[in-house]
């Protein structure tokens, strides 16, 4: 079992952070990365984990580049970064359930409770993570180490915020991991009382050992077990819904926004029923577009802040499926409410009954497309501060086909013309976007995570 890295170089703003780092780690090896603040320890660890790409050089697992065998490597890797990768609105126990699902693992509730006890968090089982202290959150982030045995551990300053009991516990875990022939890569300021074999000082740019050319050994690809996969994805979906629902402000606001925008138009244009009946399709659809795109701005925000996106990028589960589950949960909580209330507003705008039914169907078909496209846009903007209205500017031109066919369907319903063609086209748009958008979103997310 070998993890080798050769000639790794990374620059930031055209200045080399570190260059020509190389090494070879075998089972039972520990690599301690030291250096002053800003010397690039976290960057090097992220490169070794596969979250970032080096400017030059390669990282190889069993002789294969880690990008070529991404699924196998990530199955064997645990990465703990600066951030904890938890969801604040979920309880401690739910967070551990989510971590288990993300690792595609199967654990009975008793096993999860036992892990809680080991982490001394059993009394905080049903406390929401937002109420935990920094040290308790750090211990929670260690849960994944206990959930699954993997070959490689990459830990970035894991001892921060931990009290001395916690630190001793973690070092004990590390020792057991090494004894079980695992590979440990750790960055910390403190001296470790472990059997250090190799050290890298990033400031001194020492080259610890020559790396030997490794012949690629055949890797067994992780067997996709459909039952476990679907259960894991379903669990993540369920937890995402719970996360969103517990933050009432985030999902009720699109609903209110929709209502207010629709009500602005009669105020602006006058209450003439004939006029309102004519322009109602446009008003309702434009309001739906605006409400959706504004809610899409927040879809990845909390995950990015908590480091949860790193976990998504490193999960053995296919990233496209994780993204689909996340966007579906976003749609269900942010768009479905205003879809359900739209007939009421339609009545305010003098829609006929057939138009009301068409409205609900068209919105049900069209808003998922809006969410999928918005998801790509939101992923493109991960890591950027204060981008304000950039997401609407980028994505709203792509909403135009949905807008055109959605409003035309409503107009046709007003004249009792056949509607099947419109629904067919909107269905086709939905299929096309659900095929393309998750893939593009995963590229954009990996790009965003590597910043």
């Amino acid at each position: 079992m070998k993890l080798t890295f050769h000639n790794v170089t990374f620059e930031r703003a055209s200045r080399p952070l570190f260059s020509h780092i190389q090494g070879e780690l075998q089972a039972g090896d520990c690599l301690h990365i030291q250096g002053a603040n800003g010397s690039g320890k976290s960057t090097l660890l992220r490169i070794l984990a596969g979250l970032m790409e080096p400017q030059a050089g390669t990282v190889c697992w069993q002789g294969h580049s880690i990008f070529a065998v991404r699924a196998s490597y990530q199955q064997q890797l645990h990465y703990i970064g600066h951030k904890n990768g938890i969801k604040p609105p979920l309880t401690t126990y739910e967070n551990i359930q989510l971590q288990c699902a993300l690792r595609n693992g199967e654990h009975t509730p008793e096993e999860l409770e036992a892990i809680l006890k080991q982490l001394r968090l059993e009394n905080l089982r049903d406390t929401q993570a937002m109420h935990l202290s920094a040290g308790q959150l750090r211990r929670l982030s260690l849960a994944k180490l206990l959930l699954q045995k993997t070959a490689v551990w990459i830990l970035d300053e894991p001892l921060t915020a931990l009290d001395s009991a916690g630190q001793d516990y973690l070092l004990q875990l590390c020792q057991e991991h090494l004894a079980q022939q695992g590979i440990l890569i750790i960055a910390t300021h403190q001296d470790l009382a472990l059997e250090k074999i190799k050290t890298v000082h990033l400031n001194k740019k020492t080259v610890p050992m020559p790396s030997l050319a490794v012949k690629p050994t055949p890797l067994d690809e992780p067997m996709p077990n459909l039952a476990t996969l679907s259960r894991s994805i379903a669990t993540t979906f369920y937890h995402e819904i719970k996360t969103i629902l517990r933050q009432a402000c985030s999902w009720l606001t699109p609903l209110l926004f929709f209502v207010i925008v629709v009500c602005l138009f009669p105020l602006a244009l006058g209450p003439d029923p004939v006029l309102l009946h004519t322009i109602a399709p446009g008003i309702l659809w434009v309001a739906a577009l605006l409400a959706t795109i504004i809610s899409m701005g927040n879809v990845f925000r909390q995950d990015e802040q908590e480091g949860y996106l790193d976990l998504l990028a490193l999960s053995p589960l296919p990233l496209s499926l994780l993204i689909l589950s996340k966007l579906l949960s976003h749609w269900a909580t942010h768009c479905l409410p205003f879809i359900l209330i739209s007939p009421v507003l339609g009545a305010l705008l003098q829609l006929t009954l057939l138009q009301e039914l068409t409205l609900i169907t068209a919105l049900l078909l069209g808003t998922p497309v809006l969410c999928l496209l918005g998801g790509v846009g939101a992923a493109l903007l991960v890591g950027l501060r204060n981008h304000g209205l950039l997401l609407p500017i980028l994505i709203m031109p792509f909403y135009i086909p949905v807008l055109i066919f959605g409003t035309s369907a409503l107009l046709a319903a007003g004249f009792t013309q056949p509607l099947s063609g419109y629904f067919a086209i909107m269905g086709a748009l939905f299929l096309l976007s659900s095929a393309c958008a998750p893939f593009l979103t995963s590229i954009a997310l990996r790009n965003g995570v590597s910043q």
Binding site: E53, L380, I400, P401, S408, L432, A444, G448
Partner: protein, 244 residues
Amino acid sequence: MLHWLNQRFLSPKLFYETSTAMLPWLVALFTLTFAYGLIDGLFFAPADYQQGDGFRIIYVHVPSAFTAMAIYAVMACCAVMTLVWRIKIAAVCMACSAPLGAWFTLLALVTGSIWGKPMWGTFWVWDARLTSVLILLFLFLGFLALQSVIIEQRNRDRATSVLAIIGIINLPIIHYSVIWWNTLHQGPTISKFATPSIAPSMLYPLLAMIAAFLFFYVFILLLRMRNQLLLRDSQTTWVKEALQ
């Protein structure tokens, strides 16, 4: 042929040298085609039966629109090359083409609406073609906005590539839905902006102008790409030599 292209264009240094050789030719070709198209189009092509001399605006409007769409197609190809094969030149080409695309789209819109005034009596008509060009302008501006916000160069290349790819997938869909929307709301009457069947004496200057605009695009593109490559590789030796 592919190998020759690979050799010539994929390394920044070779690209710089090759483009240095190409630039004079581009200027010559542009001057020839532009002069011919301009003179023939403005003075020698016979006046149109319906529109009189006003149709001569076609010689700047159609090339602008054509070049704008060609630029987007080039950007989309470069986006695929950037994401799939990590070709740095493709990323630079895409980044430099974007402002040019925006300019040509804007020019097409403005010339189109100036043409509209004498033809339809109004500066703007929501017909399918002009609306599609307007949306194309939004796509270019969105691309430029995203480009300006991301600081790290590699992330910027990849993110803008993804945006370009979404755009190229959506562009036919948007175009056809706008055409359809237009027929829906205007009814079955033929759009007043019907393209007449065009006589050869009118066609040749048009083709020449299209070629001229494309030569101009490539010329400015190469100039800007050279500048960007010098900046990106500013620490390497070939840049230092090239500037001495």
